[in-house]
């Protein structure tokens, strides 16, 4: 039987590429997203199922819905997230609480909802954190705080649920296209990568690169890997001056 996975934030950016990669690898995919049109389009493309709703809505339970539609779950990817382009002083209360609600509390709520399904299947939970959760970025202060909390949550759950046979890991992507930095409305045009600092490898990270890491962490080759936050940042966090490797780079 094909393994079954739920991907939140699956209708665009990194989440959509994770859905595509897992479907190509033989998974049955439940695509969860806010936009009816985008979510159904991805689900249709992959012969999967669509679950539409806002992860911050406490009455919305994509895990329960996915388990019902797929007959259980072997993996859950908690990828939905929001960002605020703001340093400490510019972060308004509404943005702060939105960051906490979506990036931390919704992840906690859906992880707890997934526990019984994943314990049954010896499954795997994957969260999307960020390279900003490893080494923070002042211009996205609140976002960095919430992504550090996701990493702590991931590590605690890996230890807590290890005896239940559940693996828990996290992705820590750098600036990715298409990803949050290139698809969030009001930020940049989709796909635009101008102004990004070049990482040591000198290449823009593609959503497919992150999806490949997700496929690895959910797959059998990672059967003994849990409690890990995997950086997919082309080396940006390898050195405190990693962004200066390429001539002409300015902060």
């Amino acid at each position: 039987m094909a393994p079954r996975v739920l991907v939140t934030g699956g209708s665009s950016g990194i989440g959509r590429e994770i859905c595509r990669r897992l479907a190509a690898d033989g998974w049955r995919v439940a695509v969860a997203g806010r936009s009816v049109e985008r979510t159904e389009a991805v689900a249709q493309e992959l012969n999967g199922v669509a679950i539409v709703g806002d992860v911050a809505d406490v009455t919305h339970d994509p895990v329960l819905e996915a388990a019902r539609l797929l007959g259980g779950l072997d993996a859950v990817v908690l990828n939905a997230g929001v960002i605020a382009d703001a340093d400490l002083l510019a972060t308004e209360a509404d943005d702060w609480f939105s960051l906490l609600d979506v990036n931390v509390l919704a992840v906690h709520r859906h992880a707890r909802a997934a526990h019984r399904h994943l314990a049954t299947s010896n499954g795997s939970l994957l969260m999307t954190s960020s390279d900003a959760g490893v080494w923070g970025e002042a211009p996205i202060a609140g976002y960095s705080v919430t992504k550090r909390m996701v990493l702590a949550l991931m590590r605690c759950l890996a230890a807590e649920w290890g005896p239940d046979g559940i693996r828990v890991n996290a992705l820590c992507p750098g600036d990715t296209a298409p990803g949050m930095l290139s698809t969030t409305s009001g930020r940049r045009e989709p796909g635009a990568t101008d102004g990004w600092l070049p990482p040591p490898l000198g290449t823009t990270i593609r959503a497919q690169d992150v999806a490949g890491a997700a496929a690895f962490l959910l797959g059998p080759d990672a059967a003994r890997i849990t409690g890990v936050g995997l950086l997919i940042d082309a080396g940006m966090r390898a050195s405190s001056t990693g962004w200066l490797v390429h001539p002409g780079a300015t902060r």
């Binding site: 406490v58 400490l88 972060t91 906490l100 509390l105 002042a138 702590a152 605690c156 230890a159």
Partner: protein
Amino acid sequence: MTMLVVGSDCAVARALCDEPPPSRMGELVAAIEQQRPSELVIIALPATEGPVGALTTEALGSLIGRTVTVGFVATKLAAQLDHPVRVVVVCTANGVLPDHLDGARAVASAGLTMLTEVCSPVPNLTINTIAVADDVPVQEVADTVRWVLTSSSSSLNGATIRLDGGRDAVLAAETRAEED
């Protein structure tokens, strides 16, 4: 120099000030705006709520509100004052190396350590965190807070000092102690 202590009412807070610290958001905002401190101590040492997977999301949200959101609001207000402010955050040591048996506080304290890091470039603000293990003597915590607030630590900014007697420095610390 005016020092203001806000956040959790606990033994560490009482070692630093005589009055219970303002912990409710309205009281906290009023205290910072009225006292305009040059030294701000944010105490985030709530009682343990156990493993985070066993905790309801509502309870985790409440814990984050009493710790990380208090830290965010207090630090932002301090940064808006028209004079330099030294901020010290006091949280649990498992914000650095999580302890899943105390996972809820680990998540909150991890947020506070990152808050410290991303706020360190803010003009007029110097901010550091002291991450404290439960069994550290209260007076030692208070003394460390006072040291971090002095000019002797002027190069310390955006740092987290782990005050745990070396317990989490290496995996084998307890074994080594038994052998000694």
